[in-house]
């Protein structure tokens, strides 16, 4: 019962190590660095190879394929640490989705980046109809909001009949990188008879998305946690009217409420990750619950962080705004809170 909440010594060590690496090697300054570059050049491949050496690129890939052969609990622990510093790595696209659908030594080694081309509208819907088709072994269609699309080597394209693997740099693929507020690597993609390298059954799609959603929820938990810690420190240090602003009861109560939300989010995120590893029958609603709550909590914690910081909270000088932007972008990725609340209820039959 409680194993889903108590890390094993190995897991605890993994989390500690990941946090130390992320803080040292991928602090928030890394995102600022990425932001200064063009929208089509926001993945640091050398850095990703370093991550791969820690086993992160192949975290879900079997040991036979050069991976770490670990589970979603471990992947979630890494994602949480990446979230703490808004680390702009292709972890979700390559390690989680790629690692689930197209595991390989190249992927586990950090040499191959993978992107999933799914959405055709600005709204995520795993069950939405799809216009993209395969004709004469070529993909025809247009996809939006492709995470790490500008950097990918391989694109997994959801078409009407199958998941098609295409070469991102091959003929018939047009990549339009998007300059988004969270400064992540995202693109719209057009396929004009892009040659199909391989296909996978559509049956695999749900599993990849559910895993990515859970890992994203963990990332969001890490971000919310970090921004709340920053806010707490500020409440203790910043003085107004001769006293620390953290002594104002209205702010205290709001801080205490955020704390509660964070604790509840932590519980549901952990439970969702553990349920995936255990192939539990309620894994799907738990993941939806985790994503819904992580979205609400991240947006709450970041919006309150801005308000509690006052004027400097809205300046670009502080990192809080970067977290707030990520909170919104991450909320929408793989379905927003409203989408997942609906899904949570539908699975339960109401």
């Amino acid at each position: 019962m409680s194993s889903r909440f108590v890390d094993s010594p190995e897991q605890a060590e993994l989390a500690r190590g990941a946090r130390a690496f992320v803080e040292r090697r991928i602090p928030v300054a890394a995102l600022r660095g990425v932001r200064a570059r063009p929208a089509d050049d926001r993945i640091d491949r050398a850095l990703w190879r370093e991550c791969a050496q820690l086993g992160w690129a192949g975290i879900l890939v079997g040991e036979g394929d050069g991976g770490a052969g670990l589970g979603m609990i471990e992947a979630g622990l890494v994602a949480e640490q990446l979230g703490r510093t808004l680390a702009p790595t292709p972890f979700l696209s390559t390690a989680i989705i790629g690692g689930t659908l197209v595991p390989s030594p190249a992927l586990a080694g950090g040499d191959q980046l993978v992107a999933l081309a799914l959405d055709e509208t600005p709204f995520f819907d795993a069950r939405a109809s799809c216009e993209t088709i395969i004709r004469d072994r070529g993909v025809i269609g247009a996809k939006r909001n492709v995470l790490d699309g500008p950097a990918a080597d391989r694109v997994i394209v959801r078409t009407q009949d199958a998941l098609a693997i295409v070469d991102a740099r091959g003929p018939g693929v047009t990549i339009t990188a998007l300059d988004r507020v969270d400064s992540r690597s995202v693109a719209d993609l057009r396929f004009d008879r892009a040659p199909v390298i391989d296909t996978l059954s559509l049956d695999h799609l749900d599993r990849a998305i559910t895993r990515a959603t859970a890992a994203l929820a963990a990332e969001m938990l890490g971000g919310a946690d970090a921004v709340f810690a920053t806010t707490l420190a500020y409440l203790k240090e910043r003085r107004q009217f001769g006293v620390p602003i953290g002594s104002f009861q209205a702010l205290k109560h709001r801080a205490a409420q955020i704390f509660c939300e964070l604790e509840l989010t932590r519980s549901i995120v952990r439970a969702a990750l553990a349920a995936l590893d255990a192939n539990a029958p309620d894994a799907e609603p738990l993941v939806s619950a985790a994503k819904a709550r992580a979205s609400d909590t991240y947006l709450l914690a970041t919006a309150e962080a801005i308000q509690m910081h006052g004027g400097i909270g809205v300046t670009d000088e502080l990192d809080i705004g970067l977290y707030y932007k990520r909170a919104m972008a991450a909320s929408m990725l793989f379905g927003d809170a409203a989408y997942h609340r609906d899904r949570f209820a539908r699975v339960a039959g109401y």
């Binding site: 409680s2 002594s247 801080a255 704390f259 509840l264 709550r293 609340r341 209820a345 109401y350």
Partner: protein, 351 residues
């Protein structure tokens, strides 16, 4: 005695004790004989003298076979542990066996009309006159005071010094002249709560527990036991016979309430998981559970009324529990107090 206990089926003991059934009476008497009403208390005070480990095994075994508690009381849960720890030998021998045997039923005299969240500002006076204290004042929220034989009570023995240091812990026989008890009707209807007034009540000084002026420390110790009990009682609360989603579907899935039902379910799940996580790896503040649990319960009970529609407005429907739930975030420390505690103790925010 192996079926779940419904509300009103408990055996509370006391001089005027009643039993819901012959079986309950027999089970009670058999347990009293063996000290099983308070398994971990020493034999000389009416217990079974079990070691902590044995007591745990015993409790698990009882739970496994679904056995009911033979006796429930504030004496067992709250006063007893404190007397064992802090009372004189004479006091222990006088009071503990009667608690164990269910002969005396106790109530708690803490809150006062004027004090509220600021418990330590209590003003019920006990002034020394010879071998007695003379008590004047009033206590509120004394659960079951109208059925209790004795009260453990916080009184002010010194009105001049710091407010926490003038408080003493006194045991008072409810049969003493000058005590009057009045039930307090709530917005949800009748309740176990009473107001107890003291008008020149004489209490032998031998009934002082600990030293004069040392009552606040005892009170705090006792409050810790109270919190444990509240959580025990909560665990023992009967399961909902119909889940919120079931009620939602039965009500014809009113679209305007769906989001609120989902959110309440989601929060319920997250809260349950957090309780579970805390049991696995303690650390999260109990204040958080008090806060979140009661606020969530208020929301859920309100939803039950909304889902019942106008039918839920009649007395003895969902309405009663809805109205009762409003007290949850006040009794046992208001939500505001819990937020203060979290801010101060957990988050370390300054005063």
């Amino acid at each position: 005695m192996r079926t779940p206990m419904a509300a009103g089926q408990e055996v509370w003991g006391g001089r005027r004790r009643t039993f819901p059934s012959e079986d309950a009476k027999l089970w009670f008497e058999r347990c009293v004989e063996r000290g099983y009403t308070v398994p971990s208390w020493p034999v000389e005070y009416g217990g079974a003298g079990l070691s902590p480990d044995d007591a745990k095994i015993f409790a698990e075994e009882l739970k496994r076979i679904g056995a009911r508690l033979p006796l429930v009381s504030f004496g067992i849960w709250m006063l007893g542990p404190v007397l064992l720890e802090l009372a004189s030998e004479t006091q222990k021998r006088e009071h503990l066996p009667k608690i164990a045997r269910g002969e005396i039923r106790w109530c708690q005299g803490y809150s006062e009309p004027g004090a509220g969240s600021d418990l330590a500002s209590l003003s019920t006076r006990a002034r020394r006159e010879g071998d007695d204290y003379v008590v004047d004042g009033a206590k509120v929220w004394t659960s079951h005071a109208d059925h209790a034989d004795w009260m453990f009570c916080l009184v002010r023995t010194d009105a001049d010094g710091p407010k926490h240091e003038g408080i003493s812990f006194l045991l008072i026989d409810m049969a003493s002249p000058g005590i009057s008890v009045r039930p307090i009707p709530l917005i949800s209807g009748s309740s176990p709560f009473c107001e107890t007034r003291f008008d020149g009540v004489r209490v032998p000084a031998a009934n002082l527990v600990g030293r004069e002026g040392g009552g606040w420390q005892i009170a705090k110790r006792l409050l810790e036991h109270e919190r444990t009990i509240i959580s025990v009682m909560r665990d023992a609360a009967p399961e909902e016979t119909e889940t919120l989603p079931q009620q939602f579907l039965r009500a014809g899935s009113p679209a305007g309430l769906r989001d609120r039902v989902i959110q309440a379910e989601l929060d319920f799940l997250c809260n349950r998981l957090t309780l579970e996580r805390n049991r696995a790896a303690p650390g999260v503040a109990s204040s958080m559970f008090k806060l979140y649990g009661t606020e969530l319960n208020k929301r859920r009970k309100e939803l039950r009324v909304l889902l019942a529609g106008t039918g839920g407005l009649e007395w003895n429907t969902a309405a009663k529990e809805w109205l009762r739930s409003r007290a949850n975030s006040i009794e046992g420390g208001t939500s505001e107090i819990q937020l203060n505690i979290i801010a101060k103790r957990v988050l370390g925010l300054p005063d």
